[in-house]
Structures are given as C-alpha cells and as structure tokens.
Symmetry: C2
Subunit: 429 residues, 2 copies
C-alpha cells in the first residue's frame, strides 16, 4: 500500500488543556474554585486547583522541536506548538501529519483524573470533572465532527457515580473512559474489589472501553534516584504489563464478559511473551491457585478483552499473528517525544513494508481496529477517499510543520538535572 | 537432533541448604552464631541467624509433586525430594533428568546473600559468607567434579571486600557470583554509584559473571494485597528487565568493557522488544540525556555484556536471531514449580523442533553458551559421549522420579491463603 493511501486513526494522543477550558461548563457556584492557570515569576504556566499547584503544564509536549531540545519541558503555553492546546490548530497538525482521527488523553488532571478526585469537596470535584468531560466532548471533539474519538475522565472515588458518568457520556456518543493502571496505587480499592462492579457494568452495557494509559498508576519505573533518565524512558511502556496481568487474572473478565480494555501507549512487542507466560502460569499453577477459565486459555481471554497499540514497533508488527491481528491499533502520541509526527505514517509504512504486512492487515492496524473497538465512524462525516494520508496532507496546504528551536535557557533546570526524584514527585503529586 | 543426543547445562537451578552446611567451614569463634536449622512445633524447619527467623526453608521446592500440591511450600526437609539439599541425590536427579551441568542459586540467604550482609557484626558476616562459599565450592560442587558450575555469594556491604572475595573464589576456579537486581532496594549504593568499581574490576579481571536472579531485589511484583497470586507468578520474570535497563544505561558497561552479566531466570521472549525499545530510546533521547555509546547501539552493548536464559520459551526460541544466538542459555530451574524436571529436555526439544532450530544453534542454547560464558568445561572430566541426555539417563538406572503426593494437611495455611502480604514480607525480610 502506498503511504498516501493509508488511513490513520491514532488511539493515543495528548491534549494540553487550554486556560479557558472551564468557562461556560462549570456551574457558577464553583467558578472561583475551578482549576486555573497561573503564570509564575519564572515564566512557567501552572494549573492551580484544590490548594495544589500542578507544574509542567506541557509535560513533554515537544512536538516540532529538535531532539536536542527534548525534555520534560515545556513549562509554558508559549513554548509549545498551538496544536497542543487549540483544537483548530490540532486539526491542522493532524492534517499535515496525515492523521484522520485521534483520541486525546488529558494532561494536568493526570491520565485518570486523579487530580480532580483528590479534592475533599466531592460535589465540587464531580462538577469539575463533568465540566472537563463536557468541554472535551462538546468543544475539543465536537468542533470537528468525526476527527476525534471522545473519551471521558472517570470518577475514582465512587463507583456508582462513575457508572452514572459513563452512562451520561455514552448518551452523548462517548465510548471510551480513561482509567488508572492500578487504582490501589492511588488509594482506591484494587481491581479485585467487587465495589467497582457498577462501573464495569456500565462500561459493558454501553460498549465503553476502559482506556488505561501507561504511567496512570502514578508510579514511575524508577530504579534509583541517581539512575539516568534513560532507564525510566526505556521501562515506562513495559510497566503496563503489570496492569494487564492484574486485570487478566482478576474477577472482572470472568464476571463481565463484555468488558473491553485498551493498553494505551503500552506497545506490542512484549505481548507474545506475555501471552505465553500467562498460559504457562495457568498450566503449571491453576490447580493450586484456583484460577478457572473453563475451556479457554488466558491468552484467549486476553484477545477477547484487550486492545493493544504501538507507535511503530518492528517486533510487534513482525509478531502480529502471535498477538492477534484484531487486537492491534496504531497511535501517534502527539505531541510527546516518542511521537514521529509529522512523518509518523512514513515510519509505520517502513516498518510494515519490512515485515511484508498485507494490505488488509495494515488497514486493521491503521484504522479498522480502532473504529470497531471504539465504535468510531469517521466515514459518516467524510468520504473515505478524503480521509487518506495523501488527501489530508493536500488539505493541509502549506501549514507550517518545520522543526524549530526554542529558547533553551529556560529549560536548563530540568534538562540538566534529569532529576528523577522531582519527576517522580510530580507524577505522584 | 534426537533428544537423547542433546547435552544439557542448566544456568539456573536452586539448592536447599542442608542443616550441616557450616560444619567444618565456619571458624570456631563463630560456631555458636552461625546460621542454624530449628524445627518448630508446627513441624516446619526454619533457619535462624542474626536474631532473624527465615521461614519456608524449601520455598517452592516442589519437584516431584503433583501440580495440585504446588505452592510456596514446602516448609520442612522431609517434605522435599532429597535432591533438593543432598548433592549425591541431586546428581541422581540430574542424571535421571538428562542434565549434565547445573549452576545452583542459594535459598535461605536470599539470591544475593542479603541475609548474611544484614548482620551488624561484619567480621562474623564475612566469616559466615566465606564458609557458605567454601561449602558451595568444595562440597556441593567439589563432590562431583564437572557437574556443577560453581558460584559465590557477594559481599554487599563493602565493595573492596566483595572484590577480594571474587578474587579469592576465582583462584578456586569460580567464574560466577550472584548479585542483586537492584542494590539500592536493599539499602546499598545503586548501580550508578562508583563506589562499586572495585567489584566490577575484580569481575572483569577474573572473568567472573554477575549472575543476577529475578526476585533478587527483594521486591516482588505485587499489584495489590488482594490480587490473586497468579499475578505475581506471571509478572516475576518480567521484572528483571528493570535490572537490565538499569545496568545497560549505567556507567558500568562504559567503564568496564569486559564486564558480563547473566539475567538468571529472566526469560527471553521479551528481549527483542526490549532491545528495540533501547535503540529507540537512544535515537529519540540521547541528544538531551547525554548518553553516548560511540559508534554502537544500546542493543550492541546488550549483546556484548548480557547472557539471557529460558526454561522453554517458545517466543524466545522463535526470535533467537533477534536476541543473539550467542546470548541464550538454557535453564532447568530444579526444584521450583516452573521446572519441567525430569522431562525438561523433551520440553525444550519440542519447542526447538517447532521452531526448526538447527543443530548448531540448539547446541549453543543447550550447553555451548553456558560453557563459554561461565568458563565451564565438563568435558575435561567426562567424555562428551557420556554427557548426553541418553547417556546420563542410562547411568541413572532405575532412580525413582515418580510424581508423588505429600501430606496436604500441612500446606493449608499458605496454600489456601495465597497471602501476598506475607510472601512479600518474607521476600524482603
């Protein structure tokens, strides 16, 4: 397949919340306490909420920078491409990058909205969370019908409220809710606690996928405070296998046969080994541990319930048959440093060509699996011929995607430090 | 290759320390304080040392039991096959299992001897550790020349003493020293601290491999206290990738070009993804993180310094070319529950046949890589024709390897509980 004929739907990108997000969505009585952007004397923009300051407004939003200037920056809106926080500009960047559809994870609230859930005033927390979800669905996604896969933030502190919110969002056409890799790490009941059942039931009933992003447990893969940051970068995608094992062996797939879970930004090359390990563990141990999947193997259960994704994983593409060709989706990870935007289609095309992936399998990876798992139909809004990489780039015209250097002076502290202690503190704050 | 013609050398097995281990090895002045086996009223045998009781003398030493009776048992010597703790019986079990050579990790001291290193009286700790090493080399291995790959326990609290012990052992023909996945987790300096340099220098000078066993950080892969134990069993081998990343990006391979590290019981199916992740991390990030491997890629560095191993990993065998055929060894894991003893050769043969592994590559996996990495030459003691699976089994005669049920009543507490909290406590005690 020619790269220009590919149709690209990304199941993992990120948005940086714009400062005016809550305007028009938060009830008047909570307007003063809703999250706000404050510019610090240092020039950094930070979100302030519930007595907490969330630093690094644009954590790792480095799209368009030279690699020398990657880092956990930027810390201010004017250090990022506008496509990070402005939906009209995002669409231009998607067009120029050949990306038809995108599901965007949150930034400052944490991947599973833990910043909102931490507020003591739960009525206020729920109002803030709903305002966020309404903004995401109605403005971010609603402004460009068919271009975004809408996704809600979950209520972490009350499974019945969480179920209500999933059903409320489903009525608005939402089929994805973010969740954490491990609720226990965030101070909530574990995946093994039946108290979550109302949420799993709501997801099952509404065809809503639990989209679990790596790093959403709040625990970073840090080996030692003096370890180079490369260690954490390497390990981060491998950590999500803890969540996969935790969920696979839990009561959830046994009690909720329709539950579906996406391992967002989790990569795929480790899955064949993981599936073999699951089946071997079952074979060797289930007689004394008491696990019982009836006439199925754990790997069958995995393929029924889990969607995986990758950016451009040569090992995963080669082993796609061992993973399950219906269980693999593509992601762009815009605007983070792992992304190859704006040439991500070429990167995947190269990997797929090297592995001799047939066109029908490549179509599943590029968009068909994402569409089916997330009940997402972009072609209802735009003829398929206008959705290809080539067509979108033609529409983008001369939109500027040049790599551009930023003011490096402002990045010195965190870049030079590679300060894992501070990073870990932020991640778990 | 016929299974009877294979020559099997296992780079990861386990011994259960016999009660009389320290007799004749510990100096008289420490005889009263050396570790001792005590039989509790419950019938359990425990080691007592330094005011600490180490439970589960035979942690997971379940060889020869039916799978229904697997568990973290047994807790007493009479619940185990004598081959677990008696070297003559071990040789019979190896013969019957078709295994020529074996490297045996310790049990009650912890994989890296942390129980000894925790003693406040460091002179005594050193005497105990040296007595253990002398017993291991002179008695366990020395009783049957050419049948065991000797391995020392490290001094964790002082890198110069650790280096001295490595050199002392090397003079006795030892080319392996166990180490921990993460010294920082045990309260010592991390892999990134130059204070360890004398030890790395001693290993480099003497051709001693750092054999790092999974689980040796004292940290179990536990997601939640109420998680089924299957989660931990599944995840345990994947955790060693943290150690691999920590070491790969550390200063050690840069400063010690001859250092060699074995990822014991680490499996192999995850390695291709890991190597790709290393190279991608380097490509995307080294310009700002400052990593510099000159004209090599991180995957080249890995293949130069790291030995991997597996029990019977279909994914790893299929992907052996992406791992490095000179970097893969076989392990039996006797007497633990992951082992397929006494039919482990058949298990590997089946996997190798399915993957159409050529004879020369199978020989590397079965014994040649282990011999080269560990400077181990069994053929100096026995003609190669007498070392095959078939020849060893013929020599074993009618040695009893029947699967046999044990008294289940005594296992109820830990088997029924799958009590991860208690298990984690034991692991880190």
């Amino acid at each position: 397949m020619d790269v220009n004929d590919m149709v690209m739907v990304s199941v993992d990108d990120h948005l940086i919340e714009p400062p005016d997000l809550f305007h028009g969505h938060i009830p008047d009585r909570y307007r003063d306490v809703a999250p706000k952007v404050v510019r610090k004397d240092s020039g950094a923009d930070v979100w302030v909420f519930n007595g907490q300051t969330i630093p690094n407004v644009g954590l790792n939003a480095v799209a368009g920078r030279p690699k020398e200037e990657y880092g956990i920056e930027p810390t201010a809106f004017d250090e990022m491409r506008p496509g990070c926080w402005d939906h009209d500009e995002r669409i231009k960047d998607m067009d120029a990058g050949g990306v038809l559809g995108s599901m965007c994870f949150p930034s400052f609230p944490g991947f599973s909205g833990r910043v909102f859930s931490a507020a003591d005033d739960k009525d206020m927390a729920l109002a803030v969370l709903r305002a966020y979800n309404d903004w995401h669905v109605d403005e971010w996604c609603g402004s460009h019908p068919g271009r975004f896969i809408p996704m809600g933030l979950p209520v972490l502190w009350d499974a019945r409220l969480a179920a209500d919110e999933v059903r409320r969002l489903a009525a608005k056409g939402v089929h994805s809710v973010t969740f954490t890799e491990n609720p226990k790490e965030l101070g909530y009941p574990s995946f093994h606690d039946p108290s979550w059942d109302p949420l799993w039931a709501a997801c099952s009933d509404t065809g809503t996928v639990l989209s679990i992003h790596l790093g959403s447990s709040g625990r970073l893969a840090v080996t030692a405070p003096d370890a180079p940051i490369d260690v954490m970068i390497t390990l981060q995608p491998m950590n999500i296998c803890m969540a996969a094992a935790d969920l696979l062996w839990s009561r959830i797939p046994k009690h909720f046969p329709d539950i579906r879970i996406a391992l967002s930004e989790g990569g795929t090359g480790w899955i064949p080994y993981f599936l073999d390990r699951l089946d071997r563990t079952y074979d060797m141990h289930h007689l004394w541990t008491g696990q019982d999947f009836g006439d199925r193997l754990p790997s069958d259960v995995f393929r029924q319930h889990f969607l995986t994704c990758f950016i451009a994983d040569p090992v995963g593409v080669q082993l796609r048959g061992m993973i399950g060709i219906d269980n693999i989706a593509w992601e762009c990870d815009y605007p983070h440093s792992d992304s190859s935007w704006p040439s991500a289609p070429e990167e995947l095309h190269e990997v797929a060509t090297a592995a001799a992936v047939p066109d029908d399998e490549l179509a599943k990876i590029c968009h068909e699996n994402a569409m089916r798992w997330y009940s997402y139909d972009p072609f209802a809004h735009r003829a398929k011929a206008d959705c290809t990489v080539g067509a979108l780039r033609a529409a983008a015209g001369d939109h500027d995607v040049a790599v551009r250097s930023y003011d490096k002076g402002r990045f010195e502290i965190s870049r030079a430090g590679a300060d894992l202690g501070r990073l870990a503190e932020q991640a778990t704050a």
